[in-house]
């Protein structure tokens, strides 16, 4: 499979990044990011409701080191084109913890995933998990002040080729 032809390098665009973001709740954050995705033509109008429903059943808060992350998403039928909308919250909101019905995670980085094919979701998730586990990356995202900075960080870490030669961007 030619990864590049699928546009894997272009998951995040500046108009899909909200920084700083203010949200009252997880649902509010999901709705705001869903509105961005919809405005850009990446998801259908049903996406927000579907993502909110899914979040109630399968929470997506990840108790990652340093900074909590959530990866709300909806099923592929609500998606038109792949993208990630990213919200960097000034004050954390509580997301349910994935896999733990009693737990919650204070989340400062919300990555709303729009993926139109399930096999691509798997690939994306593997890249994201690696990215989240790379020391310092989440702190850099949380400290970003402009959408361009956030886009740069995601580009460095979600790139399928050249992933090993991104030293220049790893300065904090």
């Amino acid at each position: 499979m030619d990864e590049r032809s699928k546009g894997q390098d272009e998951w995040v665009r500046e108009d899909l990044v909200v920084v700083p973001m203010r949200a009252e709740s997880a649902a509010d954050a999901i709705s705001q990011l869903g509105a961005r995705l919809e405005a850009g033509g990446f998801v259908k109008p049903t996406w927000v409701q579907a993502a909110l429903e899914r979040e109630k059943v399968f929470a997506t808060g990840l108790p990652t080191p340093e900074v909590g992350v959530a990866i709300p998403h909806a099923d592929v039928e609500h998606v038109s084109r792949q993208a990630i909308a990213v919200g960097v919250l000034e004050e954390p909101v509580e997301f349910g913890e994935m896999g733990n019905p009693d737990g919650s995670v204070p989340v400062r980085i919300v990555c709303a995933l729009a993926v139109a094919q399930s096999d691509l979701l798997v690939t994306l998730l593997q890249r994201l998990v690696e990215m989240f586990q790379t020391p310092g990356v989440l702190r850099r995202i949380a400290g970003a002040r402009t959408p361009a900075e956030v886009v740069d960080i995601f580009r460095q870490h979600l790139r399928f080729e050249e992933a090993e030669s991104q030293d220049a961007g790893n300065r904090s």
Binding site: F58, L62, T64, M98, N100, V129
Partner: protein
């Protein structure tokens, strides 16, 4: 050693379950334990437990607690927090399983 069966469950059976399945295969191979892995949706866990007869379950979503086999929360494979402890617990459980 006899092949051990691991059932991996997540919300939709594809995304997080696949990430976790790759990890489980990797750590089992490192520990020299042959494993067979199956993935399913959270709602299918009870049914697949009776048909696949897994030795352990690793789930990224809540699953029934009365299945009579060890169930591990696989989220550390996604968050990176507590991953080494979880790896050790899974290897231990696979070695003990009969």
């Amino acid at each position: 050693m006899e092949e051990k069966r691991v059932l991996i469950a997540c919300g939709t059976s594809i995304a997080t379950a696949t990430v976790v399945a790759e990890k489980v295969k990797e750590i089992a191979q490192k520990a020299g334990i042959p494993v067979r892995v199956a993935q399913c949706k959270a709602a299918e866990v009870r049914g697949r437990t009776s048909t696949f007869d897994p030795h352990i379950i690793v789930a990224t979503t809540p699953v029934p607690k009365d299945l009579g086999i060890p169930v591990f929360n696989g989220v550390p494979f996604l968050s990176g927090v507590g991953m080494e402890a979880l790896e050790a617990q899974i290897v231990e459980a696979l070695k003990k399983a009969e």
